[in-house]
Structure formats: structure tokens, C-alpha cells
């Protein structure tokens, strides 16, 4: 008997971001509020990070609540309903259940069941990883409308006495719906990892270590700030440039640069290394939102759109980078 010929899926010729949404923790936390335990000051924190305030969620709000709020906005902005979503990708490092995935619970809340749903762990690069996957899913025919969410309640993962990263962190969620398009709306994703530098930024200890030695206490985030700064500020612009090249555009043809909001000093140095013309608007949401890991790029993008600094149809270069080490960048047409 001859083997029958299988049908393989084919998808849309192009994809783009159809809508975007944002949710920030409702509490404004000032530098003075957190300076005491790290023996610091508002001036020192602003000078080192560019952060004036950060947004943190209340005790009764979890990462899925933030996700849902951002996702509902993104779905509405795309002119769709939950039922139109057939894949949900949630990027988070602060959903504290090993299984099931938060994405499945979120899909149900949004009325997207039976959408395919899974979480990804790519830290601060997670949103760009998700956009890269969504682009591939839509163009392969695996899904028609993909909801990508970067969501974090980083305040669950901080040590108030830690001077390396905790004081930077905020809570929020950003979401985007990716779907078919009659023009190319998402450039090639340049992505990668370097696990040899896994210790540069990440969790102080694992869950099994905590189980075996409860005295270790709740794990929190730590980083080797100088090492991470050097990698982010000087290596990541090379990845961003590759994303521009792969998309076939030059720096003077884009309207916005939206890097992960890690630290204003990193953002400034990246912009310098990329030789961006003054006409390119730079996402600087970190100043009053803080570093929200995987949520930071869509939050900054949404803000630029809301404030009218950019408009629908403009080109934005976005790049996420963080614990892994991992990174991902692409040029997108703004919705």
C-alpha cells in the first residue's frame, strides 16, 4: 500500500500586530519608598537607573490579572473577541505554578478556549520571543490570531535589601494580537541565547534547593550589574542592527526604538551605539514604570502610541534581552 500524501498547513503570506494593550500595577512606588533598606537615595537611584517611580501591583492582583487586563485591550484594539484567538503565548517568570501553564487559564478567562495555550520562559526577551513565534504560527497556518502577552509581577521576586536589581523592578503586562496581513508587518526575528552566562542574572536558588533547605528563604532575583550592563549596552545593539538589516531597513527609516526597559543608562548607550538619528523616538517608559521584564516592550510601545509620539503604520525596532542570557529583536509595523 502506498503511503497517502499528507496535507500540510499553509498560512498567511504576511503577518502583523493587529492590536496592543497595556496594564500597569496600580501603586506608584517612589525611590524614597525603597531607598532605606538599600542604604540609598532618590538621587543615587535616578542617576544609576533613570527610574523616578516604578509601578507595583497590590497584594490581591496576580500576574494573570495583569495579563487579562492587557489582553482584553489588545483583543479589542484588534477588532476581535476572545473567540477569535486561537493561540495564547504567555511570557512570564513570575507565574508561580509549575503546571498548568498560566496561558491556558488566561485563555479560558478571555473566552478563547480551545485556543492552544502555553507559557514561555525567556525573561526580558520573552515578548520578542513571543512575537517571533506568533509571526511563524500565523505564516505557517498553525494559527490565525495569536495573543502574545508579556506579564510580570516582579514585586513577588524581590529582596528589599538587594542593591543589584530589586530596586529597578515593577509590575505590569503588555499584550499584542498578531494576525494575517496584506503587507509585511513583522521583520525576521534575530534571536539567541548564551547559557554559559546563566549566572549573570537570575534566581538566587531553585525550588528544590528551597525544599531541601527552607532556611534559604523565598528565592529572589540577583544580577551581576556591571557584566549585564556591558553585554546589554554594547552587544545588544549589534543584534538590533542585525534585525534592521534582516528587515531591509536602515535606522533613518524607522520611527521608534523600543528596547527592553532594563535601565535608562543601557537604553541611552544602546541608542548611541546604534547611531540612531534624532528623528527616532526612543521608548523610555522605565522612568515611571520601572523594569517590568517581559512586559516592558509592549508597555513602552503602547505608551508611545497613546501619547502620539508614534502612529499606526510607523516602524519600530524592538529588542528584548535578559536572564539566560537570551535575546530577540525584530522590526515591526505599529498597529
Amino acid at each position: 500500500m502506498t503511503r497517502p500524501t499528507l496535507t500540510q498547513a499553509t498560512g498567511a503570506a504576511h503577518s502583523r500586530i493587529l492590536g496592543i494593550g497595556a496594564a500597569r500595577g496600580e501603586n506608584v512606588v517612589t525611590n524614597d519608598d525603597i531607598a532605606g533598606p538599600i542604604n540609598s537615595s532618590d538621587e543615587w537611584i535616578q542617576q544609576r537607573t533613570g527610574i523616578i517611580t516604578r509601578r507595583r501591583a497590590g497584594a490581591d492582583v496576580d500576574v494573570l490579572d495583569l495579563s487579562e487586563a492587557a489582553a482584553r485591550q489588545a483583543i479589542a484594539a484588534a477588532g476581535l473577541t476572545g473567540a477569535d484567538i486561537d493561540a495564547v503565548i504567555l511570557s512570564t517568570v513570575t507565574y508561580f505554578e509549575q503546571t498548568p501553564a498560566g496561558a491556558a487559564v488566561l485563555a479560558d478567562r478571555l473566552g478563547a478556549t480551545p485556543a492552544a495555550a502555553y507559557d514561555i520562559s525567556a525573561a526580558c526577551a520573552g515578548y520578542c520571543y513571543g512575537i517571533g513565534q506568533a509571526d511563524a504560527l500565523v505564516r505557517s497556518g498553525a494559527a490565525r490570531h495569536v495573543l502574545v502577552i508579556g506579564a510580570e509581577k516582579m514585586s513577588e521576586f524581590i529582596d528589599p535589601t538587594d542593591r543589584s536589581i530589586s530596586f529597578l523592578l515593577g509590575d505590569g503586562a503588555g499584550a499584542a494580537v498578531v494576525g494575517p496581513s496584506d503587507f509585511a508587518g513583522i521583520g525576521p526575528t534575530i534571536w539567541g541565547s548564551d547559557g554559559s552566562r546563566a549566572k549573570a542574572v537570575g534566581q538566587t536558588h531553585g525550588w528544590t534547593e528551597l525544599r531541601d533547605n527552607p532556611a534559604l528563604g523565598w528565592p529572589t532575583l540577583r544580577q551581576d550589574g556591571q557584566s549585564v550592563f556591558k553585554w546589554a549596552a554594547f552587544e545588544m545593539p549589534k543584534i538590533a542592527q542585525q534585525a534592521l538589516d534582516a528587515a531591509g531597513v536602515t535606522a533613518d527609516q524607522i520611527q521608534a526604538f523600543v528596547p527592553h526597559q532594563a535601565n535608562m543608562r543601557i537604553i541611552d548607550q544602546m541608542a548611541k551605539q546604534l547611531h540612531l538619528p534624532a528623528s527616532v523616538v526612543i521608548g523610555r517608559d522605565i522612568a515611571d514604570t520601572g523594569n517590568t521584564s517581559s512586559a516592558s516592550i509592549p508597555l513602552a510601545t503602547d505608551r508611545l502610541l497613546q501619547e502620539g509620539a508614534v502612529k499606526s503604520g510607523d516602524l519600530a525596532l524592538q529588542i528584548g534581552f535578559g536572564a539566560g542570557l537570551v535575546y530577540a529583536a525584530q522590526v515591526v509595523v505599529l498597529p
Partner: protein, 82 residues
Amino acid sequence: MANSEQEILAGLAEIVSEETGLPTDSVLPEKSFTDDLDIDSLSMMTIVTLAEEKFEVRIPDDEVKNLVTVGDAVSFIAKAQA
């Protein structure tokens, strides 16, 4: 190509001046990056990275804490070039 220590000092002073706005003639071998020139840890990493590119040497991240004075950095770069 190896540079003389004088050339390294002059090149380093330009990098420090560009990063901090300090005049190049204030960047002297005996000056401490932190205590005298008021250079913070992130600016130090910027200076180190730009020095690596300018002098075509590798300065490992772990080594940066040992570069207390401008002279320490000049010596390290000179040795790395040798």
C-alpha cells in the same frame, strides 16, 4: 599594534573625558576612577568596553574591580598588548 604607556594614557583620557565630561588633563595615572574622578560602576564598564575596542585588548569583567587607578588600567592594557 602595541602602544606606549603614554599613548595608552592619552587614549584612555579621551575615553574618560567623552564619558564623563572631565577634561583630559585631569585623567592622571595616580587618580582613582571612583574616589577622584567620581566614575560609577556603569560608566566604568563603558570606559572599559571602549578601551577594549580602542586598544584591541580583552579586559575580563572580573578584572575590572582591580583597576582602581588610571595607572592600573594603563598597565593592564600595556601588558595585554605585549
